[in-house]
């Protein structure tokens, strides 16, 4: 973390006067040879403090930039402004109590975080393969809705930052529909806390499937419209093509994941490589870029949204129990020691009362051991490493946040670019500080 002393930009007029004076002096004697001459031409380097509250940093990211004219010569990211100690908090509560905290990691895709966390705990409990199919389909739909929502936001804000405000308005109109869907499913628009260890909080409400189908019709049109506004737009292409180039090797070396890795040309998706839930029963493609510049990353996100729509359509068709679940397909694992019983049973049956009491006070009794589960989230691989010593709380919970690794490439990526290029680069890396700082 840089101290504030390093970023002193004095009085601008005084500096300009001093620079002019220096220039006058420099004219008089013959220009010195070699490196000194070079320094004279370029003048003093300027330190610019970008952030922590700058519209293009999409959160509280601060970057100390060293500028030579308009060219960035050094970039030092300074993170931690949104650090809340989630990992410390997790050690003090039962597994289910931590679910609301996962909403606040990547707060643009809370549903996907809920699912990833629940799957990690279920892997520790050994029930991740025993989830009822209806629950798995609902969770896949949650993940894909979250992906569309997160990419629409990433796309809209990236376009807005490079000057195309219309796209932002288009995508945010569509996100409103997603939030309505999420609200009728979970009861909350933003902080969903929808999954539980061993299942989901509630079944699909009536009419939700029809509503979702209608949304999918609309969003395909919306994606096409947004793409038409951008993909062959001269200003947009000029600002993103061959800007922020990341080669495949560098992307792997810096631990980039998700669309940023695929934009660099590596066809890798955890949903394909290590299918969790029912992803192995669904057909979709993994889009990749060829160059690894900002434009490629943008195109990968556009195409991923289309693939998510395809996945959602398949889920709506194939979901066991159908729209109204007349067959009463379960949405939780049938284990009273993991999933809370219904309130009616608690009030009438001794065994369920004990289960409820133990689950609330002690949490599910997890075995001792280590598990790591990584899920393909909109931003990349969101991993949870749980070190358990047994019992209802983790001894250590480590969150492997994709935005954290994605941002670590900035000191390598930014130097050599113009100052204005930071905006499309940030937009195309599409990070969220909530999960970066945790």
């Amino acid at each position: 973390m840089a101290t504030t002393q390093e970023i002193q930009i004095g009085d601008a007029t005084a500096q300009a006067a001093a620079a002019a004076e220096e220039a006058n002096v420099a004219v008089a004697p013959p220009a010195p040879a070699g490196e000194e001459a070079l320094q004279d031409i370029h003048g003093e380097k300027m330190i610019l403090n970008m952030g922590p509250s700058h519209p293009a940093t999409h959160g509280v990211l601060r970057i100390v930039l060293e500028l030579d004219g308009e060219i960035i010569t050094k970039a030092t990211p300074d993170i931690g402004y949104l650090h809340r100690g989630d990992e410390k908090i997790a050690e003090s509560m039962t597994y289910n109590q931590f679910i609301p905290y996962t909403d606040r990691l990547d707060y643009l895709a809370p549903l996907a975080n809920n699912v990833a966390y629940a799957l990690a705990v279920e892997k520790l409990l050994g029930i991740d393969r025993a989830l009822p199919p209806r629950c798995q389909y609902i969770r896949v739909m949650c993940c894909e809705l979250a992906r569309i929502s997160a990419h629409l936001l990433g796309l809209g804000s990236m376009a807005m930052d490079v000057g195309a405000l219309t796209v932002f308005l288009y995508t945010f109109t569509q996100r409103e529909t997603i939030y309505n869907l999420i609200e009728s499913l979970t009861g909350a628009r933003f902080t969903t806390s929808y999954t539980r260890v061993g299942g989901v909080a509630r079944d699909l409400p009536s009419g939700w499937v029809a509503q979702c189908r209608k949304f999918l019709e609309e969003v395909v049109v919306n994606i096409d419209e947004s793409e038409q506004l951008l993909s062959r737009n001269k200003i947009f292409v000029d600002r993103t093509r061959d800007i922020g180039h990341i080669s495949r090797e560098v992307a792997i070396d810096y631990g980039l994941t998700g669309p940023n890795l695929r934009g660099s040309g590596l066809e890798f998706d955890l949903r394909k490589a290590h299918p969790y839930l029912v992803y192995d029963q669904l057909e979709f493609e993994v889009p990749t870029g060829s160059v690894g510049d900002c434009y490629d990353r943008y195109m990968v996100r556009i195409e991923e949204m289309r693939q998510s729509v395809l996945i959602l359509r398949q889920c709506l068709d194939k979901i066991p129990g159908g729209a109204d679940n007349a067959a009463k397909e379960p949405i939780d694992v049938a284990d009273g020691k993991i999933v809370l019983p219904t309130k009616k049973k608690v009030l009438t049956s001794m065994e369920e009362l004990i289960h409820q009491f133990i689950l609330v006070t002690e949490g599910p009794n997890a075995p001792p051991g280590d598990v790591y589960f990584g899920a393909e989230n909109p931003k990349g691989e969101l991993g949870f490493y749980i070190h358990s010593k047994g019992g209802g709380t983790p001894h250590r919970l480590k969150i492997r946040a994709p935005s954290f690794s994605n941002l670590s490439i900035l000191p390598h990526l930014l130097p050599g670019h113009m100052l204005s290029d930071t905006v499309p680069i940030f937009g195309s890396l599409d990070f969220v500080m909530g999960e970066c700082d945790r």
Partner: protein
């Protein structure tokens, strides 16, 4: 090639330094007995065994037992799609081990975070500074002897350094306490933690 075979190759190369591969929930874990060899082993794993992606570096505080810390590396290979976990113990009085930034660039920030949160130092790290907490912060917050509410610190230019008011949350649960006072204390102390472990 499976993760177990790759782990076995690592074991063949380094012999007694590395434990037998242990499997839990389909994941292979190797225990490294000498933390000073971690860079060498990671270099071999990347160059010879194709583990080109370091997913994560994290640390565990085993408060009250020896060695106090465990550093955990999650390796992955995009070529063979196998994952491997390497764990190594680090004692409290040393709390230092070689950096793997020379092997994977991504280790830079991960190791800074481990240093910031747990106070474990990495030798030959290019820029070992705090990353999430501010410069000059005197404690390592993820250690078990650091209370959840925080500790006061006298860092200049920082607005809030008093312990957090715990009334009303964040909610602290110690499973299995005898009454609600013991089960949901306002502050979780490391002593209670150790008592809890004996229970299971």
């Amino acid at each position: 090639m499976s993760a177990r075979e790759l782990a076995q190759q690592l074991k063949t190369r380094f012999g007694d330094l590395i434990s037998e591969p242990a499997e839990f929930r389909g994941e292979i874990t190797l225990q490294l007995s000498d933390a000073d060899c971690i860079a060498e082993i990671c270099d071999f794993a990347k160059k010879q065994l194709g583990f080109d992606f370091l997913a994560d570096v994290s640390s565990v505080d085993n408060y009250g037992s020896d060695p106090r810390f465990t550093v955990v590396y999650h390796l992955y290979g995009y070529g063979h799609h196998c994952a491997l976990r390497i764990k190594t113990g680090v004692g409290e009085e040393v709390s230092e081990l070689p950096s793997v930034t020379g092997v994977w660039k991504t280790a830079d920030w991960h190791e800074r975070e481990v240093y910031d949160m747990m106070g474990i130092r990495f030798r030959n790290h290019p820029d070992l500074r705090r990353i999430l907490m501010w410069d000059g912060y005197p404690y390592f917050p993820l250690r078990k002897d650091f209370p959840l509410a925080g500790k006061p610190s006298n860092v200049p230019d920082v607005a809030f350094t008093n312990p957090a008011p715990m009334e009303g949350g964040p909610f602290v649960t110690i499973p299995g306490g005898k009454d609600s006072g013991a089960r949901e204390p306002r502050v979780r102390m490391p002593e209670a933690e150790i008592k809890m472990e004996h229970k299971f």
